[in-house]
Symmetry: C2
Subunit: 272 residues, 2 copies
Amino acid sequence: MDELSRMCIHTVTTKPWDIETSIDEYARAGAGGITVWRDALQGRSIADVRRRVADAGLSIVSTCRGGFFPSVEPSKRQAALAENREVIAEAAELGAPLVVLVCGADPKQSLDDSRAQIVDAIAELAPEAERAGVKLAIEPLHPMYADAKSAINTMKSANDAAERIGSSAVGVAVDVYHIWWDPDLEKEIARCGELGKIFAFHVCDWRVPTRDFLLDRGLMGEGCIDIPKIRGRVEQAGFNGFVEVEIFSTEYWSGDQSEFLGRIVEAFKMHV
Amino acid sequence: MDELSRMCIHTVTTKPWDIETSIDEYARAGAGGITVWRDALQGRSIADVRRRVADAGLSIVSTCRGGFFPSVEPSKRQAALAENREVIAEAAELGAPLVVLVCGADPKQSLDDSRAQIVDAIAELAPEAERAGVKLAIEPLHPMYADAKSAINTMKSANDAAERIGSSAVGVAVDVYHIWWDPDLEKEIARCGELGKIFAFHVCDWRVPTRDFLLDRGLMGEGCIDIPKIRGRVEQAGFNGFVEVEIFSTEYWSGDQSEFLGRIVEAFKMHV
């Protein structure tokens, strides 16, 4: 099988492009899949986007993103549940088999409280996701995002949450950027595989130094993450889905996106 | 006992002050202890500093910092050992009972390799530290520093390393900034206490949002860390030493340091 056919690109990676351009260019570059960030759907007919992706020969891998469940305020937790129902419905309409969850955290309460609210919310959504034929992937986020983006910060926490929820629709998204530093990584990736819960695999790189908390992700190979090693572990644990390129970078977004896409393809062949 | 007598301040916290001013002002503010960053000793007689601290009625709690052990290059690892021998000798001369270790990491090799080199280096230094009457504290650093500052990023890793080295001179420095997000925190603080290895306790706060990877630490109470809860766990685990205020902040360093010290005292009483 052609290696590139396993490559999926997130629309946010080439954020300056509209979704039509992204679809056409990813397909032309030889990618097999696309993950659609919801902002890229703004003002579009979802049925049109779905058709265009299919016509281009791409698979829709997932949508990004649901989540942001916890809050000290019950009304905000209810609003988050309602929004996540819409996200699930939208994914189903788009033909996306998976929604990635950035679970959220509220710095006004303890991480334990946020974690409990996350588990409760996903457990409530799971039957709905099952009925819609859409899976939900809990993405552990780097501990530097524990204040306000996610209270789930390790593979172990994500595995624990998914196991506790106990739905076949709920698993884990493994992103090298968030988990490469973890001394328990090997063990917890293996455990996630045994649970049948590795639902997605995202790559980029950790720049040395990293200059921004959010928007300075590196192209694969220009940082310190041993991506092939982590990919090997994920695949040894049974994962055989798409390898998704998800790069937030003000530096790359400010340049020519066609050239950037060319570099992504080369980096994918060399360093993933 | 007066609460403030348990307070220790790191010289780096009031970086614009020279060490003489820091000693006098910390004592005047009612602090009981001082931790000396090595750069503050530049051009000073160590004996003079030791005397001045004693005359001011302060205890020297530790020096910061040794470490930075791992490297792909054996010659650099040897140089690090030699420098750390000097750090230990300097601490003994200063009358500091403890050296805090920022263990280091080399992004050119795996974290496993860096971790093994850290354990080897500290094990080699431990007998020397024992003879000098100086203890060594492994400080787990936040995972956002795993690229180049420390391959020890959790209390569990620090406990594992200290336990494996097995010297009474080697323990752990607990800094809320680095470990507040950890879901295993309660368990690993308790374990560290059972091992008799809680050698230091550092406080500051995690700002939401944090604007810089290094120099945007918050004053206690202005971030999202539940410092009293973590302090409670540390003390329940048997620690009864100084509570050390260690804040790196371009914002606070740019202001009036006397006023900043006043705010530290208030924050210590209210939020620690």
